[in-house]
C-alpha cells in the first residue's frame, strides 16, 4: 500500500533545501536566536547563583539541554506551520503529486527535511555554546546524528498533526499541550529529581527527555549512556515514520 521511492524522497528534500536557502534568514530568530537568549539569561544569569548541577557547571548543563530543544523546534516549525502553508495555502503538494512523485514521497521527504533542519539548528547552537566551554568530549561530533534522528521523530509527530488538523489555528494546541510541556519538563533547565517519581516516569515517556540526556552524555563523554538513549529515540522515530505518510496520502489522494 505504501508507495515510497528513495529518488522521489530525495528530490522533494532537495526542493526544500532550495527553498530554505532563500528563506533561512527569516527562520533564524525563532529557531536559533531564541535558544541563545535562553542560554545567556539562564546560563549566565541563573548560573550566577547555581554554580553546578549534577557535577556539571550550570551553563554547560543548560546549554546542552537547549541544543536538544533547538533541534526539536527546528523540526517542529518545519513540519507544522511551514508544511501546512504549502499544503493548504500554496497547494504546492497538490501539484507535486501529479508529477512522478507520490504522496508518500512528499511526506517522507518532508520528515527528512525537518530532520535536516533539526541537525542544522541543534549543531549550530552547539557551536555557539562551545564558546562557553560546554563541550568536553570528541563524542560531541556524534550529536548532529542524534539531532537528525530525533528530528525524524519530532517531524513525524508534527506532520501527523499537520495532516490531521482542519485549521492552522489549532497548532497552538500542538505547541501548548505537547511542545512547551516537553521544553519545560525534560530536564533542560533543572534535573527532575525534585519532582515525585511519577513526573519522571511521564517525562521518560516523552522524546525530548531522551534527546536531552543523549546530548549531555555525548557532550561530556559518556557514549554508553548516550547510545542507550539514541536507541530509544531511533526505534520510536522508525515506528512513527509511516504514520504521516499514510495520513498525508489520504489528504492528497482520494
Amino acid at each position: 500500500m505504501m508507495d515510497v521511492s528513495l529518488t522521489g524522497v530525495l528530490l522533494f528534500w532537495q526542493r526544500n533545501l532550495l527553498i530554505f536557502r532563500k528563506i533561512f534568514l527569516t527562520a533564524l530568530p525563532e529557531n536559533f536566536l531564541e535558544p541563545i537568549l535562553y542560554l545567556v539569561a539562564l546560563g549566565l544569569g541563573l548560573g550566577g547563583f547555581v554554580r553546578e548541577v549534577q557535577g556539571i557547571p550550570y551553563v554547560a548543563f543548560v546549554a546542552t539541554g537547549l541544543a536538544a530543544s533547538a533541534a526539536m523546534f527546528g523540526a517542529t516549525f518545519e513540519c507544522t506551520y511551514n508544511a501546512y502553508v504549502q499544503f493548504a495555502y500554496d497547494r504546492s503538494y497538490d501539484a507535486i503529486v501529479t508529477t512522478p512523485l507520490s504522496a508518500e514521497d512528499v511526506a517522507v521527504g518532508e520528515v527528512l527535511w525537518g530532520a535536516t533542519r533539526s541537525a542544522l539548528y541543534g549543531s549550530a547552537f552547539l557551536l555557539v555554546a562551545a564558546l562557553f566551554g560546554v563541550v568536553r568530549s570528541w563524542w560531541a561530533l556524534a550529536l548532529p546524528f542524534v539531532f537528525f534522528t530525533s528530528g525524524i521523530l519530532f517531524s513525524a509527530t508534527a506532520l501527523t498533526f499537520t495532516a490531521l488538523t482542519p485549521s492552522i489555528d489549532l497548532f497552538t494546541y500542538y505547541f501548548s499541550l505537547w511542545i512547551t510541556p516537553m521544553f519545560l519538563f525534560s530536564g533542560i533547565f533543572f534535573p527532575l529529581d525534585a519532582f515525585p517519581a511519577w513526573v519522571r516516569d511521564v517525562a521518560w515517556c516523552t522524546p525530548l527527555y531522551h534527546v536531552v540526556r543523549a546530548t549531555r552524555a555525548f557532550a561530556f563523554g559518556n557514549p554508553a549512556a548516550a547510545l542507550r538513549e539514541l536507541l530509544w529515540i531511533g526505534l520510536l522515530a522508525f515506528a512513527l515514520l509511516p504514520i504521516p505518510a499514510i495520513l498525508l496520502r489520504r489528504r492528497l489522494v482520494h
Partner: protein, 310 residues
C-alpha cells in the same frame, strides 16, 4: 486507426454516499483536444483527477497510455502535464526555479532542466521575468507559468482544469494561442471549461457532463446540429400572460425544439430565415425577433437546463 491515449469504460467514483462520476465511457485519441463541459458538480474535475492518478476509481476501467491508473500511477504521471485550476506554484521560489524543481521531479539533470526552463520561458514569454518571485506576477503570467511547468518533461498528454478562468481577454487569447501551438506540435490535450467559446475554439471533441454522467459527446459543431439545429430564433415576448399564452400555443407547430428563458423563447431550427418569416406572418405578439447562429452554449443549456448549480 488513431492511438487511444485515454480509455474509460463504466468509470465510477463514489465519495461515501455521493456518486461523483457515474459509469462513464469515453476515449481520447492521440493528438486531439478533448473537452469536458458541465455545470459545477457534474463530475468533470473528479474525472480529470482519476486520469492524473490523484483520485482512485471506485469501479470500471481507466487506462492511460494503455496502463491501468490503479497499478501504474508513476509510469503514467511521468508522461503527463497537469495545469490546476488554482495556482499551485512554489511561492518562495523564482519563476525559473519553479521550472527547475519540476524538471528534477521528472528525472531531468540540472543542465537539461536549465535548457528546458529557458526554452519554455521563451515559449510563454516570461524570459524577462525569470528571476522574479511568484507574487509579483499577474494572474495571466502565473497561468502561463503553470502551463510552462506542465510542459517541462515533454508530456504526451496535457491536462488543463479551467485554463483561462479569471483571466482578462488578452491573457485568455495568449493562453489559447499557446494551446493551439501545442496541438499543432502533436500534444494531446484534455481540458475542462465553463466557457463554451473556449470549447468551440480549442476542442476537437467535447463531452457534456451532468450529474456524474456524460449526456452528449462529439465535435462541437456536430453537437450543435444534432441537439439545437443550425440556427436560433429568439422571440422577446411582452410581459403579460395573454401574449405568452398565444405565443406558447403557436410556436409548438413552428419549430423542431424550443425553450422558455424568462421573457424569451428560443426556437431551434435548421432554416432560420423561413422561421422568422413565419413568425412575422403569424403576427405573434412579440417585441422583437432575433436570428442568430446556434452555439454550443445553446446545446449546453438545452441538455443541462437553466437551474442554478451550487
Amino acid at each position: 486507426m488513431s492511438v487511444t491515449v485515454v480509455e474509460a469504460r463504466d468509470l465510477t467514483k463514489r465519495f461515501g454516499a455521493i456518486t461523483a462520476v457515474d459509469r462513464i465511457s469515453f476515449d481520447v485519441h492521440a493528438g486531439e483536444c478533448f473537452g469536458f463541459l458541465g455545470p459545477n458538480g457534474a463530475g468533470k474535475t473528479t474525472t480529470m483527477k482519476m486520469i492524473y492518478c490523484v483520485a482512485r476509481p471506485t469501479s470500471g476501467v481507466l487506462r492511460v497510455f494503455g496502463m491501468d491508473v490503479r497499478s501504474h500511477p508513476r509510469a503514467i504521471k511521468r508522461h503527463l502535464g497537469v495545469v490546476h485550476q488554482a495556482t499551485t506554484l512554489d511561492e518562495a521560489l523564482t519563476v525559473r526555479e519553479n521550472l527547475l524543481v519540476y524538471a528534477r521531479y521528472y528525472g531531468l539533470g540540472w543542465r537539461e532542466a536549465r535548457e528546458r526552463a529557458d526554452a519554455l520561458l521563451a515559449f510563454v514569454e516570461l524570459s524577462g521575468r525569470a528571476d522574479e518571485r511568484i507574487p509579483n506576477l499577474s494572474g495571466g503570467m502565473q497561468r502561463r507559468l503553470m502551463i510552462a511547468r506542465a510542459l517541462v518533461a515533454n508530456p504526451r498528454l496535457l491536462i488543463l482544469d479551467e485554463p483561462t478562468t479569471g483571466l482578462d481577454p488578452q491573457a485568455r487569447h495568449a493562453v489559447w494561442d499557446r494551446l493551439r501551438q501545442l496541438k499543432r506540435a502533436g500534444v494531446t490535450q484534455i481540458l475542462t471549461t465553463h466557457y463554451m467559446e473556449e470549447a468551440e475554439q480549442l476542442c476537437d471533441r467535447v463531452a457534456i457532463m451532468d450529474g456524474g454522467r456524460i449526456v452528449a459527446e462529439g465535435p462541437p459543431q456536430a453537437l450543435v446540429e444534432r441537439y439545437v439545429g443550425r440556427e436560433v430564433v429568439e422571440l422577446q415576448v411582452a410581459q403579460d400572460g395573454a401574449s405568452a399564452r398565444v405565443v406558447a400555443e403557436e410556436i409548438r407547430a413552428l419549430a423542431e425544439a424550443y425553450e422558455w428563458d424568462g421573457g424569451r423563447v428560443l426556437l431551434h431550427t435548421h432554416d432560420g430565415e423561413r422561421l422568422v418569416h413565419q413568425v412575422r406572418s403569424l403576427g405573434l405578439p412579440v417585441k422583437a425577433v432575433v436570428l442568430r447562429r446556434a452555439t454550443l452554449e445553446d446545446v449546453f443549456l438545452h441538455l443541462t437546463g437553466r437551474r442554478l448549480r451550487e
